[in-house]
């Protein structure tokens, strides 16, 4: 299969073109041996199938960063190159274009955001530009789909540029200047209303108010929509149809015994109990699909909206000063928000931070005090029945921990905390198709990670009970759990399962008949003491064993101290 590389600077609409050209079979992965992510898919042009690769967005191919190195290698491996240029920032994009054309690969250029040039007062002589660069140029508007067919039609006939040869860095800049003088006229214009509105979102006073409103609205939306999906769709399905059917079916094959209990636990037709019955086919499916998934989907949808709209860089600017006090910088807000969905992509996203110190702090803080959506959904489900204030206590504790540990880590971790540097993209209307594809890809990632572990967890719990291991564990850990933390002995089950998955672990607290105070303490301990196994694995890979051990030691220490503190405050001695 021939390979087409889609290359361009950041924020030129490359990923929208990519999703327009490919189908649903898009895979995101890691470039071998690096921490650079890229996306790959296939596309049909005529009858021929091509592989399409979304090269990481870079401003040049100079190989000063890993992303640039990867971009360079990918371009060298490609059979064809589509260079996506932002027509509204032609000058800034041409440097990379020249570098790409110098590779002498068959290339074409997508002059994207073409529709926006006119009202920005920019005139580009496309015919002249085509002549100077020596490759076909297709004006496109990825969002509205203009030019996509032409792009696909022309790419397989592309030829290497005849006019652009190898240049030195200085000559390249001169060439950029020369091209701009010849092909582009910019008419003077005033700041538009839209731009003024965009500006107030990065000004301190207005920006921070807007940021708070945006985040509150986002979480309100997630909670409301998530609950609506559960109440009107999933619960009726689980309790009305799936439950009776699965109980009847399993009972007709295995009416009792170990297998019966592993499959559907204590559920009977009279009392369908999805939350506590501990069967693989009852609780094992209900927790990930019936309790967590609705919030995960809405979370990822909202996150994709903010991302595609272009809001996240602005948020990063507003929180930069605060995050510097924690040894991070503004961009760390992106992995942190992602971590609210799932700590695994959150930990991976810390790669946007430049130094090891920042990455260590960001990952450790996340593992300790950023609950993933699965965990949050269960905390809401378990504590919500006793009132909002218990939930607030959990989150306030985690937030204070985040700040406190950050202040501490900034001082004790060696290394650099560099300054923020980012481009602030113009606000753009998100493309619904790209939004849905992104949401689906992330949700699928959650399901692939969660469901097997939840089922495995429930299986293990069943075995622990059957073989009486639970009793031994309860006796061993009872001093620390009961005497020190004020929790029932049975909470050890939750702590063991929490290493596997946090959602099912919190579910394990339900049958213990705890007071809201005890539940609150238990939720805080479960959130802080250790990340789930999937996050743990990613952290080993990203931090190395030594740093991970440091982080893990901190987690245990923090969790125990906070657990004791909260026990004293909430339950008394």
């Amino acid at each position: 299969m021939k390979l087409i590389a889609l290359a361009g600077c950041p924020n030129v609409g490359k990923s929208v073109i990519f999703s327009r050209l490919t189908g649903v079979n898009v895979i995101s992965s890691n470039y071998p041996g690096t921490t650079v992510d890229f996306t790959k898919g296939t596309t049909f042009i005529g009858d021929e199938k091509f592989e399409l690769i979304d090269v990481p967005g870079t401003y040049s191919l100079e190989a000063t960063s890993k992303a640039e190195e990867v971009a360079q290698t990918m371009l060298q491996e490609a059979d064809f190159v589509i260079n996506v240029i932002d027509a509204t920032h032609l000058e800034r994009n041409l440097y990379l274009t020249l570098e790409i054309l110098e590779l002498k690969k068959p290339s074409i250029i997508a002059l994207n955001l073409w529709d926006e040039t006119r009202h920005l007062g920019i005139e580009i002589d496309v015919v002249k530009l085509e002549k100077m660069l020596g490759v076909p140029i297709i004006p496109t508007c990825a969002l509205c789909g203009t030019g996509m067919k032409e792009l696909a039609a022309k790419v397989s006939d592309a030829q290497p540029s005849q006019t652009i040869g190898p240049l030195s860095e200085e000559k390249r800049w001169l060439k950029v200047g020369e091209i701009i003088r010849d092909v582009q006229v910019v008419h003077h214009r005033h700041h538009t209303l839209k731009e003024r509105l965009a500006d107030i979102t990065v000004m301190p006073t207005t920006g921070i108010s807007i940021a708070i409103a945006v985040i509150l609205l986002m979480f309100l939306f997630i909670i409301e929509i998530g609950n609506a999906i559960i109440n009107y769709l999933l619960d009726p399905l689980f309790y009305g149809y799936y439950g009776p059917w699965i109980v009847t079916t399993v009972n007709s094959f295995v009416p009792s015994g170990l297998l019966h209990d592993i499959l559907i636990g204590t559920s009977t037709l009279e009392s369908l109990d999805f939350e506590q019955s501990l069967g693989i086919l009852t609780t094992g499916l209900y927790v990930p699909f019936g309790m967590v998934l609705p919030f995960v989907i809405t979370f990822y949808f909202m996150l994709s909206v903010l991302e595609d709209f272009g809001y996240l860089p602005r948020l990063a600017i507003l929180v930069d000063t605060g995050l510097h006090k924690l040894g991070l910088h503004g961009s760390a807000i992106v992995p942190t928000i992602l971590g609210c969905g799932c700590n695994v992509p959150g930990a991976l996203a810390t790669r946007i931070l430049e130094t090891e110190k920042q990455r260590f702090i960001a990952m450790t803080l996340m593992a300790i005090s950023v609950p993933c959506m699965a965990q949050s959904a269960m905390i809401f489900a378990v504590l919500g029945r006793y009132g909002l204030r218990w939930i607030l206590i959990v989150y306030a504790t985690l937030f204070v921990l985040y700040i406190f540990l950050g202040l501490l880590l900034k001082r004790i971790v060696k290394g650099e905390s560099p300054e923020l540097l980012l481009e602030v993209p113009r606000y753009r209307k998100p493309d619904p198709v790209t939004l849905l594809k992104k949401t689906w890809a992330k949700t699928y990632g959650f399901l692939a990670e969660a469901v097997p572990f939840v089922i495995l967890g429930i299986f293990i719990v069943n075995l622990l009970y059957v073989f009486g291991i639970i009793d031994i564990l309860m006796r061993v850990f009872s001093p620390i759990l009961t005497a020190v933390l004020g929790l029932p002995e049975g909470a050890i089950v939750a702590l063991i399962l929490g290493i596997l998955r946090k959602d099912i672990a919190i579910g394990m607290l339900l049958p213990l008949g705890m007071s809201p105070q005890q539940l609150t303490v238990a939720c805080i301990i479960l959130a802080t003491y250790f990340p789930c196994i999937a996050t743990f694995v990613v952290m080993v890979r990203e931090l190395g064993v030594r740093d991970l051990l440091k982080a893990a030691g901190l987690m245990v220490l923090v969790s125990l101290s906070v657990g004791i503190l909260m026990r004293v405050i909430l339950i008394g001695i």
Partner: protein, 84 residues
């Protein structure tokens, strides 16, 4: 680069207030950062406008030919401009 006049005296970008404009006369960063800035559109001769600064020695947000870029105060200090 070609527009640069070596006799032009520059002051640090950090002296600009939000809303003020200046023309870049020199980048005084290390080679790698300079290259990165140039590819982002920040180079000698370009006119920039400060959109916002964040309190507590926070980052600058500037506009250069319709592109907005945010960077920390340390990076801003090493961009020399003449006020317009």
């Amino acid at each position: 680069m070609s527009d640069r006049n070596p006799n032009e005296e520059g002051v640090s970008l950090t002296t600009l207030l939000p809303g003020e404009r200046g023309k870049i006369v020199a980048l005084q960063h290390g080679k790698g950062r300079q290259h990165h800035f140039r590819t982002m559109g920040l180079m000698e001769g370009k006119i920039i406008k400060v959109i916002a600064t964040q309190p507590g020695r926070g980052p600058f947000v500037i506009d250069v030919e319709g592109t907005q870029i945010a960077f920390g105060r340390g990076m801003a200090r090493h961009i020399l401009i003449t006020k317009l």
